[in-house]
Amino acid sequence: MEQDNSFDEIQKLIEKGSYDEAEKMLTEMQMPSDMARWNYLMAVLSMYKGWLENCSDYAKTAAELDPQNKEYTEYYEKVKAARSAEELQRSYGSSGSGDCGIDGGDCCQCCLHICESFT
């Protein structure tokens, strides 16, 4: 119960932009009762800090620890979309799909050169 309150407090700190304080509280937390939420909050915090690899790892762990939690799984899906360039293509307004599925360099004209096309 006490840790639940701490998690709420940390979430508020992140929303307020007090990232250092939030990070300190999360890292000092002893044996979090809800590891999924701890990982989720670390992911969100890492995203704000710009540490995107950490964000990716924490988001994955949160989604794996509590796959029923929509908030965590949706967040991880967003992270995956950003990594696979789907989000980029939405930003570019391109009609290309996330993975054009064709090998070879030329296919990437349709999705602005980002999707993987290793031969």
Partner: protein, 292 residues
């Protein structure tokens, strides 16, 4: 900086490309005026973008006039001239960054490169002193970045920690050119992801060479010699960085050069990314296949 921030010419209107070139020539002229002809050797594409961003967010007045190329006076060109400090700032960044890059080459390279860097550092010493006097804060930020970068490399740091010094430097430079407190945070967030992307694309560009020579590279450890998997991983990490950069870019209030900056952020970076990850891998792969 490294010269990865460039427009994707095929998608840029001719008038915008001419304007981009005029900013490049304007920065060259400004550097010549402030630091002398030799300093134009330090001119970079990245600093051209920095000058343009500075002109744009500060709504600085500028004019484009006809003139002659600094390096080749027989060639006519358009030259952009700002009324404020955008070109002076970008020129100082160019000079100071070159100095630190030369210091780094002297420390890390083989004899011939070391000798060349030592000679260039002597040649550019006066320019560096002038830039240092005008913008000491750029120098102290760069010095701190280099120290932090060296420490990250000594400790074989992961991607986030390795990219953080360059990202933080560009973040602070963008904060310095911000028009006021209201936009500073957004400029800094954008700068952070630009810096992170620049560091990571440079690491991706070098990863195959670094894996071969067992040099430090933040991408090298994860897939232990599997180049195809490593290049895919580089692409994923760069994609995510670019997507965050775009989100922050869209919140900036730009007053000029928007078509060019849009082109650089939306098309130019992705073109460079493809060139240094996918194309480079495919090229090496087909060379190897031909060799077999």
């Amino acid at each position: 900086m490294f010269g990865y921030l460039r427009p994707f010419k095929d998608e840029l209107k001719v008038k915008d490309y001419q304007l981009y070139k005029s900013v490049y020539c304007g920065l060259c002229k400004s550097m010549k005026k402030e630091y002398g002809l030799l300093s134009t050797l330090m001119l970079s594409y990245d600093c051209t973008v920095l000058a343009m961003l500075c002109l744009s967010v500060n709504d600085e007045k500028y004019c484009v006039r006809k003139g002659r190329c600094t390096v080749n006076p027989l060639k006519k060109c358009s030259i952009c001239k700002g009324e404020g400090w955008a070109f002076s700032f970008a020129g100082a960044v160019s000079v100071i960054m070159t100095r630190y890059k030369l210091n780094d080459t002297i420390l890390d390279s083989g004899f011939l490169k070391k000798l060349a860097a030592f000679f260039l550092r002597l040649v550019f010493h006066g320019n560096y002193k002038r830039a240092l006097k005008a913008y000491p804060e750029i120098d102290s930020l760069t010095a701190a970045m280099m120290e932090s970068q060296a420490e990250a490399e000594r400790n074989n740091a992961g991607i986030d920690r390795s990219a953080d010094p360059t990202a933080t430097l560009i973040k602070k430079l963008c904060g310095m050119i911000s028009p006021g407190e209201a936009m500073r945070h957004q400029m800094e967030v954008f700068g952070y992801f630009v810096g992170r992307w620049i560091y990571l694309i440079d690491a991706a560009d070098d990863v195959q060479k670094d894996m071969k020579h067992h040099n430090f590279n933040p991408f090298a450890a994860k897939y232990q010699g599997d180049i195809k998997a490593t290049m895919g991983y580089c692409n994923e990490v760069l994609n995510m960085t670019a997507s965050q950069m775009i989100l922050s870019y869209e919140l900036l209030e730009l007053h000029s050069f928007k078509a060019i900056l849009d082109n650089i952020v939306y098309d130019g970076l992705s073109y460079q990314q493809k060139k240094y990850t996918i194309d480079k891998y495919n090229e090496k792969n087909s060379d190897n296949k031909r060799g077999n």
